[in-house]
C-alpha cells in the first residue's frame, strides 16, 4: 500500500480536494495552538503566517472543509 501511495503521489494525481482538506486541518490545529498561546482568538493573517501561506490560501482551504449544509445547521441552533 505504501508503494501504491508513493506511486500516486509521484504520479501527480493527488486531488486538490484532499490536499485542501489537509490544509484545513492544519488551519484548525494552528488556530487552537495560537489561541492557547496568546490567550485570544488569532486573526487569519496570524494563522497564515504561522503556516507560511497567504491568508487567501487559508480562506480557500476553509471552504474545502465545508459540508454544503453545515452552516445551515450551525447558524440558528
Amino acid at each position: 500500500i505504501g508503494e501504491i501511495q508513493r506511486f500516486l503521489r509521484d504520479d501527480g494525481t493527488i486531488k486538490v480536494s484532499r490536499s485542501l482538506k489537509e490544509m484545513a486541518n492544519r488551519v484548525r490545529r494552528t488556530k487552537d495552538e495560537l489561541s492557547k498561546r496568546n490567550g485570544r482568538i488569532p486573526t487569519i493573517v496570524e494563522i497564515a503566517d504561522a503556516l507560511d501561506v497567504t491568508p487567501e490560501e487559508v480562506v480557500l482551504a476553509q471552504e474545502a472543509n465545508r459540508v454544503p449544509s453545515s452552516i445551515h445547521e450551525t447558524v440558528f441552533e
Partner: protein
C-alpha cells in the same frame, strides 16, 4: 497607518455551483484585514445568502444571466454589493420578514434577509418588480477603536 481603499468587481453566471466561488472570492479579498475566522465566516454567510437569492430568486437559475459583486474596503469598513437584473421584489417589507419565503421547498426557508441583517452592521436594499435587486452589505472595522477611547 492609513489604508487606501481597495476595490474589486466580479461577475459570474447564475449557477448554484458559483455560490461557493463568490463567497471565497469575497472572503479572499478581505482576508488581509485583521479579521478572525469567525468574523470572516459571518461575512461569507451574509454574502452567500445574497448571492443565493440572486441566483435562485432573481434569475431562477438561468445560467445565461450574470450576478455582479462589487467589494471594497478601507481602514473603517468593508462593503459588498450584490446585484442581479432579475425579477426584483414587489414587496420588500414582506420579503424581509423572518420566515417569509416564496420558495418554501428550500432549506432554511425565509431566513436569508434575517441572516444578512444579523451578521452585518448595515444592509441597504434597492429593488422593485422587474427591476432587479441590489443589496449593499456593510461591516464596520473600527469597533475595537471605540473600546480604547
Amino acid at each position: 497607518m492609513e489604508r487606501k481603499k481597495n476595490v474589486m468587481n466580479l461577475e459570474f453566471s447564475a449557477r448554484s455551483e458559483n455560490e461557493s466561488f463568490a463567497r471565497v472570492a469575497v472572503a479572499a479579498f478581505v482576508s488581509k484585514l485583521n479579521l478572525t475566522l469567525d468574523e470572516l465566516e459571518e461575512i461569507k454567510t451574509a454574502v452567500s445568502e445574497a448571492v443565493t437569492n440572486a441566483i435562485i430568486h432573481g434569475y431562477e437559475e438561468d445560467a445565461s444571466k450574470q450576478v455582479r459583486i462589487s467589494a471594497c474596503y478601507d481602514d473603517e469598513y468593508i462593503e459588498v454589493l450584490i446585484e442581479d437584473h432579475g425579477t426584483g421584489i414587489a414587496d420588500i417589507e414582506e420579503a424581509r420578514q423572518p420566515l417569509f419565503t416564496t420558495k418554501p421547498e428550500l432549506e432554511r426557508s425565509g431566513m436569508g434577509f434575517t441572516i444578512m441583517e444579523n451578521f452585518m452592521d448595515s444592509i441597504e436594499i434597492v429593488t422593485g418588480k422587474e427591476r432587479g435587486t441590489r443589496i449593499v452589505l456593510r461591516k464596520n472595522l473600527v469597533k475595537d477603536k471605540a473600546v480604547y477611547n
